[in-house]
Amino acid sequence: MNVIEIKGLTKIYKTSEVIVKAVNGIDINFEEGEFTAIVGPSGSGKTTFLNMLGGLDKPTSGKVIISGIDVWKLSSRQLIDFRMNNIGFVFQSYNLIPVLTAGENVEFIMHLQGKPKKEREKRTKDLLEAVGIGNRINARPSKLSGGQQQRVAVARALASKPEFILADEPTANLDSKATNSLLELMSQMNKKYNTTFIFATHDQRVMDKAHRIVTIEDGKILSDEYFERD
Protein backbone atom coordinates (compact mmCIF):
# COMPACT_ATOMS: atom_id res chain seq x y z
CA MET A 1 0.00 0.00 0.00
CA ASN A 2 1.40 3.40 -0.99
CA VAL A 3 1.98 5.73 1.97
CA ILE A 4 3.48 8.44 -0.17
CA GLU A 5 2.77 9.31 -3.80
CA ILE A 6 4.94 11.90 -5.50
CA LYS A 7 3.98 13.32 -8.85
CA GLY A 8 6.11 15.64 -10.99
CA LEU A 9 7.89 17.11 -8.00
CA THR A 10 10.01 20.07 -9.08
CA LYS A 11 11.99 22.71 -7.25
CA ILE A 12 13.55 25.58 -9.12
CA TYR A 13 15.82 28.13 -7.44
CA LYS A 14 16.11 31.41 -9.27
CA THR A 15 18.94 33.81 -8.64
CA SER A 16 19.65 36.98 -10.59
CA GLU A 17 22.10 35.11 -12.77
CA VAL A 18 21.03 31.48 -13.00
CA ILE A 19 18.05 29.19 -12.73
CA VAL A 20 18.80 25.91 -10.90
CA LYS A 21 16.48 22.92 -11.11
CA ALA A 22 17.33 21.26 -7.78
CA VAL A 23 14.57 18.66 -8.21
CA ASN A 24 13.38 18.06 -11.72
CA GLY A 25 10.00 16.40 -12.08
CA ILE A 26 10.36 13.36 -9.81
CA ASP A 27 7.61 10.73 -9.77
CA ILE A 28 7.92 8.07 -7.10
CA ASN A 29 5.85 6.15 -4.55
CA PHE A 30 6.81 4.80 -1.11
CA GLU A 31 5.03 1.87 0.50
CA GLU A 32 4.28 1.27 4.16
CA GLY A 33 7.19 -0.31 6.05
CA GLU A 34 9.86 0.53 3.47
CA PHE A 35 13.44 1.18 4.56
CA THR A 36 14.66 3.37 1.72
CA ALA A 37 17.89 5.27 1.13
CA ILE A 38 17.91 8.27 -1.22
CA VAL A 39 21.47 8.53 -2.40
CA GLY A 40 23.43 10.75 -4.70
CA PRO A 41 26.38 13.11 -4.77
CA SER A 42 26.40 16.42 -2.95
CA GLY A 43 24.12 18.91 -4.71
CA SER A 44 22.16 16.15 -6.41
CA GLY A 45 18.91 17.38 -4.81
CA LYS A 46 18.29 14.67 -2.23
CA THR A 47 17.92 17.02 0.78
CA THR A 48 15.66 19.36 -1.23
CA PHE A 49 13.62 16.32 -2.24
CA LEU A 50 13.39 15.16 1.37
CA ASN A 51 12.41 18.65 2.56
CA MET A 52 9.57 18.85 0.02
CA LEU A 53 8.49 15.35 0.94
CA GLY A 54 8.45 16.34 4.62
CA GLY A 55 6.42 19.53 4.10
CA LEU A 56 9.37 21.76 4.97
CA ASP A 57 10.11 23.28 1.56
CA LYS A 58 7.41 24.20 -0.92
CA PRO A 59 7.84 22.70 -4.38
CA THR A 60 7.73 24.89 -7.46
CA SER A 61 5.36 22.36 -8.97
CA GLY A 62 4.19 18.80 -8.44
CA LYS A 63 2.33 16.98 -5.72
CA VAL A 64 3.21 15.18 -2.49
CA ILE A 65 0.28 12.99 -1.48
CA ILE A 66 0.58 11.34 1.92
CA SER A 67 -2.20 8.96 2.98
CA GLY A 68 -4.40 10.56 0.34
CA ILE A 69 -3.75 14.17 1.40
CA ASP A 70 -2.06 16.62 -0.96
CA VAL A 71 0.16 18.18 1.70
CA TRP A 72 1.07 21.32 -0.22
CA LYS A 73 -2.61 22.24 -0.45
CA LEU A 74 -2.80 22.51 3.35
CA SER A 75 -2.61 25.90 5.08
CA SER A 76 0.54 26.76 7.01
CA ARG A 77 -1.08 25.80 10.33
CA GLN A 78 -2.61 22.61 8.94
CA LEU A 79 0.76 21.64 7.48
CA ILE A 80 2.51 22.02 10.85
CA ASP A 81 -0.16 19.84 12.47
CA PHE A 82 0.12 17.37 9.61
CA ARG A 83 3.88 17.08 10.08
CA MET A 84 3.42 16.64 13.81
CA ASN A 85 0.96 13.77 13.41
CA ASN A 86 2.33 12.04 10.32
CA ILE A 87 6.04 12.66 9.85
CA GLY A 88 8.99 11.98 12.13
CA PHE A 89 12.26 13.81 11.51
CA VAL A 90 15.80 12.76 12.32
CA PHE A 91 18.34 15.44 11.44
CA GLN A 92 22.05 15.23 10.81
CA SER A 93 22.97 17.31 13.88
CA TYR A 94 20.47 15.55 16.19
CA ASN A 95 18.77 18.92 16.82
CA LEU A 96 17.37 18.09 20.22
CA ILE A 97 16.03 20.98 22.27
CA PRO A 98 18.98 21.68 24.54
CA VAL A 99 16.99 22.93 27.55
CA LEU A 100 14.91 19.76 27.72
CA THR A 101 16.04 16.41 29.09
CA ALA A 102 16.09 13.32 26.86
CA GLY A 103 12.71 12.32 28.25
CA GLU A 104 11.24 15.80 27.81
CA ASN A 105 12.51 15.95 24.21
CA VAL A 106 10.62 12.76 23.43
CA GLU A 107 7.56 13.83 25.41
CA PHE A 108 7.50 17.32 23.86
CA ILE A 109 5.87 16.29 20.58
CA MET A 110 3.20 14.26 22.41
CA HIS A 111 2.55 17.32 24.56
CA LEU A 112 1.98 19.31 21.36
CA GLN A 113 -0.38 16.56 20.21
CA GLY A 114 -2.34 17.00 23.43
CA LYS A 115 -1.81 13.44 24.66
CA PRO A 116 -2.64 12.80 28.35
CA LYS A 117 0.23 12.98 30.81
CA LYS A 118 0.14 9.30 31.79
CA GLU A 119 0.22 8.16 28.18
CA ARG A 120 3.09 10.55 27.42
CA GLU A 121 5.16 9.36 30.33
CA LYS A 122 4.64 5.70 29.55
CA ARG A 123 5.44 6.06 25.85
CA THR A 124 8.50 8.18 26.59
CA LYS A 125 9.84 5.55 28.96
CA ASP A 126 9.06 2.72 26.53
CA LEU A 127 10.66 4.49 23.57
CA LEU A 128 13.83 5.48 25.42
CA GLU A 129 14.17 1.90 26.67
CA ALA A 130 13.55 0.64 23.13
CA VAL A 131 16.37 2.84 21.80
CA GLY A 132 18.61 1.65 24.62
CA ILE A 133 19.00 4.77 26.75
CA GLY A 134 16.21 4.36 29.28
CA ASN A 135 18.72 5.12 32.04
CA ARG A 136 19.48 8.58 30.58
CA ILE A 137 15.89 9.84 30.63
CA ASN A 138 16.74 12.81 32.85
CA ALA A 139 19.97 13.79 31.09
CA ARG A 140 20.15 16.99 29.07
CA PRO A 141 21.46 16.60 25.46
CA SER A 142 24.76 18.23 26.42
CA LYS A 143 25.41 15.30 28.78
CA LEU A 144 24.81 12.69 26.07
CA SER A 145 27.21 11.41 23.40
CA GLY A 146 26.44 12.00 19.70
CA GLY A 147 25.17 8.43 19.33
CA GLN A 148 22.96 8.76 22.39
CA GLN A 149 21.58 12.07 21.15
CA GLN A 150 20.72 10.53 17.79
CA ARG A 151 18.94 7.70 19.61
CA VAL A 152 16.88 10.27 21.47
CA ALA A 153 16.16 11.92 18.10
CA VAL A 154 14.90 8.57 16.77
CA ALA A 155 12.75 8.08 19.87
CA ARG A 156 11.40 11.61 19.39
CA ALA A 157 10.64 10.91 15.74
CA LEU A 158 8.73 7.77 16.73
CA ALA A 159 6.91 9.41 19.63
CA SER A 160 4.07 10.89 17.59
CA LYS A 161 3.40 7.50 15.91
CA PRO A 162 4.08 8.95 12.44
CA GLU A 163 3.28 7.39 9.06
CA PHE A 164 6.96 7.60 8.16
CA ILE A 165 10.31 8.95 9.33
CA LEU A 166 12.56 11.17 7.24
CA ALA A 167 16.21 11.06 8.20
CA ASP A 168 18.62 13.49 6.58
CA GLU A 169 22.21 12.19 6.87
CA PRO A 170 21.49 10.78 10.35
CA THR A 171 24.88 9.08 10.63
CA ALA A 172 27.05 11.91 9.29
CA ASN A 173 28.31 12.99 12.70
CA LEU A 174 28.61 9.53 14.24
CA ASP A 175 31.56 7.16 14.55
CA SER A 176 31.34 3.62 13.13
CA LYS A 177 30.22 2.01 16.34
CA ALA A 178 27.48 4.55 16.93
CA THR A 179 26.46 4.38 13.25
CA ASN A 180 26.11 0.59 13.29
CA SER A 181 24.24 0.70 16.53
CA LEU A 182 21.86 3.42 15.27
CA LEU A 183 21.19 1.62 12.00
CA GLU A 184 20.51 -1.57 13.89
CA LEU A 185 18.09 0.34 16.08
CA MET A 186 16.27 1.91 13.13
CA SER A 187 16.07 -1.41 11.41
CA GLN A 188 14.52 -2.93 14.54
CA MET A 189 12.04 -0.07 14.80
CA ASN A 190 11.16 -0.57 11.16
CA LYS A 191 10.44 -4.24 11.81
CA LYS A 192 8.80 -3.78 15.22
CA TYR A 193 6.47 -0.86 14.39
CA ASN A 194 6.37 -1.33 10.58
CA THR A 195 7.36 2.36 10.37
CA THR A 196 8.50 3.60 6.96
CA PHE A 197 12.03 5.06 7.01
CA ILE A 198 13.38 7.26 4.22
CA PHE A 199 17.01 8.35 4.48
CA ALA A 200 18.99 10.88 2.50
CA THR A 201 22.56 9.70 2.79
CA HIS A 202 25.99 9.15 1.27
CA ASP A 203 26.86 6.60 3.91
CA GLN A 204 27.55 3.15 2.48
CA ARG A 205 26.62 1.55 5.80
CA VAL A 206 23.13 3.01 5.51
CA MET A 207 22.88 1.84 1.93
CA ASP A 208 23.89 -1.64 3.04
CA LYS A 209 20.91 -1.76 5.38
CA ALA A 210 18.38 -0.24 2.97
CA HIS A 211 15.82 -2.44 1.20
CA ARG A 212 15.45 0.13 -1.53
CA ILE A 213 17.99 2.56 -2.89
CA VAL A 214 16.87 5.49 -4.99
CA THR A 215 19.74 7.31 -6.69
CA ILE A 216 19.24 10.94 -7.57
CA GLU A 217 21.49 13.02 -9.77
CA ASP A 218 20.88 16.52 -11.10
CA GLY A 219 17.45 16.47 -9.52
CA LYS A 220 16.28 13.37 -11.38
CA ILE A 221 15.95 9.73 -10.39
CA LEU A 222 18.83 7.84 -11.93
CA SER A 223 17.95 4.43 -10.52
CA ASP A 224 15.47 2.81 -8.14
CA GLU A 225 16.57 -0.63 -6.88
CA TYR A 226 15.14 -3.09 -4.35
CA PHE A 227 17.26 -5.46 -2.22
CA GLU A 228 16.54 -8.43 -0.03
CA ARG A 229 18.07 -7.95 3.45
CA ASP A 230 18.08 -10.04 6.62
Binding site: N51, G54, L56, D57, S76, R77, I80, D81, R83, M84, N85, F89, F91, S93, N95, I97, P98, V99, L100, E104, E107, F108, I109, H111, L112, Q113, R156, S160
Partner: protein, 405 residues
Amino acid sequence: MRIITIAWRNLWRKPWRTVITSGSIFFGVLLSTFMTSMQYGSYESMINNVVKFYSGYMQIFTQDYHENKTINNTFVFNDSIRQIIEDEPKLTNYTSRLEYFSLASSENLTKGSVIIGIDPKRENMVTGLKKWVEKGQYLSKDDNAVLIATDLAKYLKVGVGDTIVLYGQGYHGVLAAGIYPVKGILKFPSPELNKQFIYMPLNSCQQLFSAPNRLSSLVLMLHDNYQLPSALSHLKSKIKPPFMIRSWEELQPGLVQMIEGDKAGGLFMKSILYLIITFGILGTILMMVSERKRELGVMIAIGMQRYLLSRILFIETFFIGLLGAAAGIAASIPLTYYYYLNPMPLEGDAAKTMIDMGIEPYMYFSIQPDIYYVQAIVVFIITLFIAVYPVIKAYTLSLTSALRS
Protein backbone atom coordinates in the same frame (compact mmCIF):
# COMPACT_ATOMS: atom_id res chain seq x y z
CA MET B 1 6.26 20.57 29.15
CA ARG B 2 4.79 24.00 29.67
CA ILE B 3 6.08 26.72 27.38
CA ILE B 4 6.73 28.87 30.41
CA THR B 5 9.22 26.25 31.67
CA ILE B 6 10.97 26.13 28.31
CA ALA B 7 11.18 29.93 28.24
CA TRP B 8 12.57 30.03 31.78
CA ARG B 9 15.19 27.38 31.03
CA ASN B 10 16.16 29.12 27.79
CA LEU B 11 16.90 32.19 29.84
CA TRP B 12 19.53 30.31 31.82
CA ARG B 13 21.30 28.68 28.87
CA LYS B 14 23.78 31.52 29.08
CA PRO B 15 23.38 32.68 32.68
CA TRP B 16 25.90 35.50 32.49
CA ARG B 17 24.17 37.04 29.51
CA THR B 18 20.84 37.00 31.33
CA VAL B 19 22.45 38.36 34.50
CA ILE B 20 24.18 41.17 32.62
CA THR B 21 21.05 42.14 30.66
CA SER B 22 18.83 41.98 33.74
CA GLY B 23 21.57 43.83 35.62
CA SER B 24 21.42 46.71 33.17
CA ILE B 25 17.65 46.90 33.70
CA PHE B 26 18.19 46.62 37.47
CA PHE B 27 20.53 49.61 37.57
CA GLY B 28 18.36 51.57 35.13
CA VAL B 29 15.26 51.04 37.24
CA LEU B 30 17.14 51.74 40.48
CA LEU B 31 18.61 54.97 39.13
CA SER B 32 15.35 56.06 37.57
CA THR B 33 13.37 55.31 40.76
CA PHE B 34 15.96 57.10 42.88
CA MET B 35 15.87 60.15 40.58
CA THR B 36 12.07 60.19 40.49
CA SER B 37 11.81 59.80 44.26
CA MET B 38 14.23 62.72 44.71
CA GLN B 39 12.32 64.83 42.17
CA TYR B 40 8.94 64.11 43.72
CA GLY B 41 10.38 64.63 47.20
CA SER B 42 11.70 68.06 46.25
CA TYR B 43 8.36 68.98 44.63
CA GLU B 44 6.51 67.86 47.75
CA SER B 45 8.88 69.95 49.83
CA MET B 46 8.39 73.00 47.59
CA ILE B 47 4.63 72.58 47.60
CA ASN B 48 4.64 72.13 51.37
CA ASN B 49 6.64 75.32 51.74
CA VAL B 50 4.24 77.30 49.63
CA VAL B 51 1.07 75.69 50.91
CA LYS B 52 1.94 75.45 54.57
CA PHE B 53 3.66 78.80 54.66
CA TYR B 54 0.85 80.94 53.40
CA SER B 55 -1.48 79.92 50.60
CA GLY B 56 -2.99 76.66 51.87
CA TYR B 57 -4.00 73.95 49.39
CA MET B 58 -7.12 75.87 48.37
CA GLN B 59 -8.66 79.28 49.00
CA ILE B 60 -12.24 80.48 48.84
CA PHE B 61 -12.99 84.10 48.00
CA THR B 62 -15.44 86.05 45.87
CA GLN B 63 -15.14 86.25 42.11
CA ASP B 64 -14.87 90.03 42.42
CA TYR B 65 -12.00 89.73 44.92
CA HIS B 66 -10.21 87.35 42.55
CA GLU B 67 -10.32 90.03 39.84
CA ASN B 68 -9.77 93.07 42.05
CA LYS B 69 -8.30 92.58 45.50
CA THR B 70 -9.95 95.51 47.30
CA ILE B 71 -11.63 95.41 50.66
CA ASN B 72 -14.95 96.24 48.97
CA ASN B 73 -14.91 92.80 47.37
CA THR B 74 -14.65 90.89 50.64
CA PHE B 75 -17.46 88.68 51.92
CA VAL B 76 -19.32 87.68 55.04
CA PHE B 77 -18.57 84.12 56.16
CA ASN B 78 -22.10 82.71 56.09
CA ASP B 79 -23.45 79.39 57.29
CA SER B 80 -23.87 77.85 53.85
CA ILE B 81 -20.12 78.25 53.07
CA ARG B 82 -19.23 77.06 56.56
CA GLN B 83 -21.41 73.96 56.07
CA ILE B 84 -19.80 73.12 52.71
CA ILE B 85 -16.32 73.37 54.24
CA GLU B 86 -17.17 71.37 57.32
CA ASP B 87 -18.85 68.64 55.25
CA GLU B 88 -15.76 68.09 53.07
CA PRO B 89 -14.12 64.97 54.55
CA LYS B 90 -10.68 65.51 53.02
CA LEU B 91 -10.16 68.91 54.68
CA THR B 92 -7.99 68.75 57.78
CA ASN B 93 -8.29 72.42 58.76
CA TYR B 94 -9.18 75.90 57.57
CA THR B 95 -8.67 79.49 58.64
CA SER B 96 -10.18 82.90 57.86
CA ARG B 97 -8.26 85.98 56.75
CA LEU B 98 -8.93 89.60 56.03
CA GLU B 99 -6.06 90.94 54.00
CA TYR B 100 -5.58 94.50 52.81
CA PHE B 101 -3.02 97.27 52.46
CA SER B 102 -2.32 100.30 54.61
CA LEU B 103 0.46 102.61 55.63
CA ALA B 104 2.37 101.70 58.77
CA SER B 105 4.00 104.57 60.66
CA SER B 106 6.20 105.09 63.63
CA GLU B 107 7.21 108.65 64.52
CA ASN B 108 8.19 110.17 61.18
CA LEU B 109 8.75 106.86 59.35
CA THR B 110 6.05 105.40 57.10
CA LYS B 111 5.88 102.41 54.81
CA GLY B 112 3.24 100.60 52.78
CA SER B 113 2.41 97.24 54.37
CA VAL B 114 0.24 94.18 53.96
CA ILE B 115 -2.13 93.85 56.87
CA ILE B 116 -3.44 90.37 57.53
CA GLY B 117 -6.21 89.79 59.99
CA ILE B 118 -6.12 86.23 61.30
CA ASP B 119 -7.69 83.85 63.74
CA PRO B 120 -4.44 83.32 65.70
CA LYS B 121 -5.20 79.78 66.82
CA ARG B 122 -6.43 78.49 63.46
CA GLU B 123 -3.74 80.36 61.51
CA ASN B 124 -1.08 78.71 63.63
CA MET B 125 -2.63 75.28 62.99
CA VAL B 126 -2.68 75.91 59.25
CA THR B 127 0.58 77.77 58.59
CA GLY B 128 2.51 77.43 61.86
CA LEU B 129 2.84 81.23 62.08
CA LYS B 130 3.86 81.06 65.76
CA LYS B 131 7.19 79.45 64.92
CA TRP B 132 8.31 82.58 63.07
CA VAL B 133 7.96 84.78 66.20
CA GLU B 134 11.53 85.93 66.83
CA LYS B 135 10.89 88.28 69.74
CA GLY B 136 7.89 88.92 72.00
CA GLN B 137 4.78 86.74 71.95
CA TYR B 138 2.30 85.28 69.53
CA LEU B 139 -1.17 86.81 69.23
CA SER B 140 -4.29 85.69 71.04
CA LYS B 141 -7.83 86.14 69.70
CA ASP B 142 -8.77 89.11 71.87
CA ASP B 143 -5.53 91.05 71.50
CA ASN B 144 -5.63 94.48 69.97
CA ALA B 145 -1.97 94.28 68.96
CA VAL B 146 0.16 93.34 65.97
CA LEU B 147 2.99 91.03 64.93
CA ILE B 148 5.35 92.85 62.62
CA ALA B 149 7.90 91.35 60.24
CA THR B 150 11.52 91.96 61.22
CA ASP B 151 12.77 94.13 58.34
CA LEU B 152 9.66 96.29 58.50
CA ALA B 153 10.18 96.66 62.28
CA LYS B 154 13.77 97.69 61.67
CA TYR B 155 12.69 100.21 59.05
CA LEU B 156 10.11 101.70 61.40
CA LYS B 157 12.58 101.41 64.30
CA VAL B 158 10.09 99.65 66.54
CA GLY B 159 10.49 96.76 68.93
CA VAL B 160 8.24 94.69 71.19
CA GLY B 161 6.11 97.00 73.37
CA ASP B 162 6.37 99.97 70.97
CA THR B 163 3.32 101.19 69.05
CA ILE B 164 2.70 101.70 65.37
CA VAL B 165 0.01 103.60 63.53
CA LEU B 166 -1.87 101.94 60.69
CA TYR B 167 -3.50 104.36 58.31
CA GLY B 168 -5.42 103.66 55.14
CA GLN B 169 -8.75 103.26 53.44
CA GLY B 170 -11.39 100.94 54.88
CA TYR B 171 -14.57 99.31 53.61
CA HIS B 172 -16.40 101.52 51.11
CA GLY B 173 -13.88 104.30 51.45
CA VAL B 174 -14.16 104.79 55.20
CA LEU B 175 -11.00 106.11 56.82
CA ALA B 176 -9.04 103.30 58.50
CA ALA B 177 -6.71 104.36 61.28
CA GLY B 178 -5.51 102.88 64.56
CA ILE B 179 -2.66 102.65 67.02
CA TYR B 180 -1.46 99.17 67.91
CA PRO B 181 1.21 97.90 70.26
CA VAL B 182 3.80 95.52 68.79
CA LYS B 183 3.36 92.18 70.55
CA GLY B 184 6.00 90.29 68.63
CA ILE B 185 8.54 90.44 65.80
CA LEU B 186 8.27 87.85 63.01
CA LYS B 187 11.28 86.62 61.14
CA PHE B 188 10.35 84.69 57.97
CA PRO B 189 12.85 82.88 55.79
CA SER B 190 11.72 85.02 52.84
CA PRO B 191 13.21 88.54 52.67
CA GLU B 192 10.15 89.73 50.70
CA LEU B 193 7.78 88.79 53.52
CA ASN B 194 10.06 90.33 56.14
CA LYS B 195 9.73 93.71 54.42
CA GLN B 196 5.95 94.11 54.42
CA PHE B 197 3.85 91.77 56.59
CA ILE B 198 1.85 92.80 59.63
CA TYR B 199 -0.47 90.29 61.34
CA MET B 200 -3.25 91.21 63.73
CA PRO B 201 -6.28 89.38 65.21
CA LEU B 202 -9.21 89.18 62.80
CA ASN B 203 -11.58 91.23 64.98
CA SER B 204 -9.10 94.09 65.34
CA CYS B 205 -8.45 94.02 61.60
CA GLN B 206 -12.17 94.08 60.77
CA GLN B 207 -12.58 97.05 63.15
CA LEU B 208 -9.61 98.84 61.61
CA PHE B 209 -11.05 98.58 58.11
CA SER B 210 -14.65 99.05 59.27
CA ALA B 211 -15.51 95.68 57.77
CA PRO B 212 -17.20 93.76 60.55
CA ASN B 213 -17.54 89.99 59.92
CA ARG B 214 -15.95 90.40 56.49
CA LEU B 215 -13.20 88.18 55.12
CA SER B 216 -11.01 88.34 52.05
CA SER B 217 -10.36 84.60 51.92
CA LEU B 218 -10.77 81.23 53.56
CA VAL B 219 -7.64 79.09 53.50
CA LEU B 220 -8.25 75.33 53.33
CA MET B 221 -5.81 72.55 54.24
CA LEU B 222 -5.60 68.89 53.21
CA HIS B 223 -3.48 66.02 54.43
CA ASP B 224 -1.33 66.18 51.32
CA ASN B 225 -1.26 67.36 47.73
CA TYR B 226 -2.35 63.96 46.34
CA GLN B 227 -5.83 64.62 47.80
CA LEU B 228 -6.14 67.96 46.06
CA PRO B 229 -7.74 66.90 42.74
CA SER B 230 -10.69 65.08 44.27
CA ALA B 231 -11.26 67.60 47.08
CA LEU B 232 -11.03 70.51 44.65
CA SER B 233 -13.40 68.96 42.17
CA HIS B 234 -15.87 68.13 44.92
CA LEU B 235 -15.78 71.63 46.40
CA LYS B 236 -15.94 73.28 42.98
CA SER B 237 -19.19 71.44 42.33
CA LYS B 238 -20.67 72.81 45.57
CA ILE B 239 -19.40 76.36 45.72
CA LYS B 240 -21.60 78.64 43.66
CA PRO B 241 -21.14 82.28 42.61
CA PRO B 242 -20.44 84.85 43.89
CA PHE B 243 -17.94 82.57 45.63
CA MET B 244 -15.17 80.66 43.94
CA ILE B 245 -12.47 78.23 44.99
CA ARG B 246 -8.91 78.10 43.67
CA SER B 247 -6.13 75.58 44.29
CA TRP B 248 -2.58 76.55 45.18
CA GLU B 249 -1.69 75.55 41.60
CA GLU B 250 -4.01 78.23 40.26
CA LEU B 251 -2.80 80.74 42.84
CA GLN B 252 0.90 79.98 42.27
CA PRO B 253 1.27 79.32 38.54
CA GLY B 254 4.99 80.15 38.70
CA LEU B 255 5.70 77.25 41.00
CA VAL B 256 3.62 74.90 38.84
CA GLN B 257 5.58 75.97 35.75
CA MET B 258 8.85 75.43 37.56
CA ILE B 259 7.81 71.91 38.62
CA GLU B 260 6.57 71.08 35.12
CA GLY B 261 9.83 72.33 33.62
CA ASP B 262 11.86 70.26 36.04
CA LYS B 263 9.69 67.21 35.37
CA ALA B 264 10.33 67.58 31.63
CA GLY B 265 14.08 67.68 32.30
CA GLY B 266 13.81 64.56 34.45
CA LEU B 267 11.76 62.84 31.79
CA PHE B 268 14.44 63.56 29.22
CA MET B 269 17.13 62.04 31.47
CA LYS B 270 14.99 58.99 32.15
CA SER B 271 14.20 58.60 28.46
CA ILE B 272 17.93 58.41 27.71
CA LEU B 273 18.35 55.88 30.50
CA TYR B 274 15.54 53.72 29.20
CA LEU B 275 16.75 54.05 25.64
CA ILE B 276 20.07 52.53 26.74
CA ILE B 277 18.17 49.75 28.53
CA THR B 278 16.06 49.17 25.40
CA PHE B 279 19.12 48.69 23.22
CA GLY B 280 20.68 46.43 25.88
CA ILE B 281 17.67 44.10 25.90
CA LEU B 282 17.27 44.31 22.13
CA GLY B 283 20.92 43.26 21.63
CA THR B 284 20.43 40.23 23.84
CA ILE B 285 17.18 39.22 22.15
CA LEU B 286 18.67 39.62 18.66
CA MET B 287 21.56 37.37 19.69
CA MET B 288 19.26 34.85 21.39
CA VAL B 289 17.08 34.53 18.30
CA SER B 290 19.96 34.52 15.84
CA GLU B 291 21.96 31.77 17.57
CA ARG B 292 18.86 29.62 17.97
CA LYS B 293 17.61 29.94 14.42
CA ARG B 294 18.21 26.27 13.67
CA GLU B 295 16.60 25.14 16.92
CA LEU B 296 13.54 27.30 16.22
CA GLY B 297 13.34 25.77 12.76
CA VAL B 298 13.46 22.27 14.25
CA MET B 299 10.69 23.10 16.70
CA ILE B 300 8.42 24.23 13.87
CA ALA B 301 9.47 21.27 11.72
CA ILE B 302 8.50 18.70 14.34
CA GLY B 303 5.11 20.29 14.88
CA MET B 304 5.21 23.37 17.07
CA GLN B 305 2.84 26.03 15.79
CA ARG B 306 4.49 29.37 15.13
CA TYR B 307 2.21 31.17 17.58
CA LEU B 308 3.39 28.86 20.37
CA LEU B 309 6.99 29.53 19.44
CA SER B 310 6.39 33.27 19.40
CA ARG B 311 4.81 32.92 22.83
CA ILE B 312 7.95 31.23 24.17
CA LEU B 313 10.15 33.97 22.74
CA PHE B 314 7.85 36.65 24.10
CA ILE B 315 7.89 35.11 27.58
CA GLU B 316 11.71 34.92 27.48
CA THR B 317 11.89 38.63 26.64
CA PHE B 318 9.32 39.41 29.29
CA PHE B 319 11.21 37.38 31.93
CA ILE B 320 14.41 39.34 31.28
CA GLY B 321 12.52 42.59 31.78
CA LEU B 322 10.66 41.25 34.79
CA LEU B 323 13.81 40.01 36.53
CA GLY B 324 15.61 43.32 36.14
CA ALA B 325 12.62 45.49 36.95
CA ALA B 326 11.55 43.45 39.99
CA ALA B 327 15.09 43.45 41.38
CA GLY B 328 15.46 47.18 40.67
CA ILE B 329 12.19 48.06 42.37
CA ALA B 330 12.92 45.73 45.30
CA ALA B 331 16.28 47.41 45.84
CA SER B 332 14.96 50.95 45.37
CA ILE B 333 12.18 50.64 47.99
CA PRO B 334 14.49 50.37 51.04
CA LEU B 335 16.94 52.88 49.55
CA THR B 336 14.36 55.60 48.91
CA TYR B 337 12.58 54.80 52.18
CA TYR B 338 15.84 55.36 54.05
CA TYR B 339 16.30 58.77 52.45
CA TYR B 340 12.60 59.53 52.96
CA LEU B 341 13.15 59.08 56.69
CA ASN B 342 16.60 60.71 56.63
CA PRO B 343 16.61 63.48 54.01
CA MET B 344 20.00 64.17 52.46
CA PRO B 345 21.49 67.38 53.95
CA LEU B 346 22.80 69.93 51.46
CA GLU B 347 25.92 71.95 51.99
CA GLY B 348 27.64 74.99 50.56
CA ASP B 349 26.02 77.29 48.01
CA ALA B 350 23.13 74.93 47.32
CA ALA B 351 22.20 74.97 51.01
CA LYS B 352 22.55 78.77 51.18
CA THR B 353 20.32 79.26 48.13
CA MET B 354 17.64 77.07 49.63
CA ILE B 355 17.82 78.85 52.99
CA ASP B 356 17.49 82.20 51.19
CA MET B 357 14.39 80.86 49.46
CA GLY B 358 12.95 79.90 52.81
CA ILE B 359 13.34 76.19 52.16
CA GLU B 360 15.12 73.85 54.52
CA PRO B 361 18.50 72.81 53.05
CA TYR B 362 17.69 69.13 52.59
CA MET B 363 17.14 66.90 49.58
CA TYR B 364 13.82 65.25 50.28
CA PHE B 365 12.64 61.91 48.86
CA SER B 366 9.14 60.69 48.15
CA ILE B 367 7.75 57.18 48.57
CA GLN B 368 4.57 57.63 46.54
CA PRO B 369 3.61 54.21 45.07
CA ASP B 370 3.51 55.53 41.50
CA ILE B 371 7.27 56.17 41.64
CA TYR B 372 7.74 52.39 41.74
CA TYR B 373 4.94 50.98 39.66
CA VAL B 374 5.48 53.46 36.83
CA GLN B 375 8.99 51.95 36.40
CA ALA B 376 7.44 48.48 36.14
CA ILE B 377 5.01 49.77 33.52
CA VAL B 378 7.82 51.46 31.55
CA VAL B 379 9.93 48.27 31.53
CA PHE B 380 6.85 46.27 30.55
CA ILE B 381 6.20 48.60 27.61
CA ILE B 382 9.86 48.41 26.55
CA THR B 383 9.66 44.62 26.76
CA LEU B 384 6.49 44.58 24.69
CA PHE B 385 8.17 46.78 22.11
CA ILE B 386 11.28 44.58 21.92
CA ALA B 387 9.28 41.35 21.97
CA VAL B 388 7.78 42.34 18.64
CA TYR B 389 11.06 41.29 16.98
CA PRO B 390 11.15 37.63 18.12
CA VAL B 391 7.40 37.33 17.54
CA ILE B 392 7.80 38.53 13.94
CA LYS B 393 10.81 36.25 13.55
CA ALA B 394 8.80 33.23 14.73
CA TYR B 395 6.12 33.98 12.15
CA THR B 396 8.47 34.68 9.26
CA LEU B 397 11.24 32.14 9.86
CA SER B 398 12.08 30.23 6.69
CA LEU B 399 12.22 26.57 7.68
CA THR B 400 14.74 25.49 5.07
CA SER B 401 17.18 28.30 5.76
CA ALA B 402 16.76 27.80 9.52
CA LEU B 403 17.48 24.07 9.23
CA ARG B 404 20.50 24.75 7.00
CA SER B 405 21.91 27.39 9.39
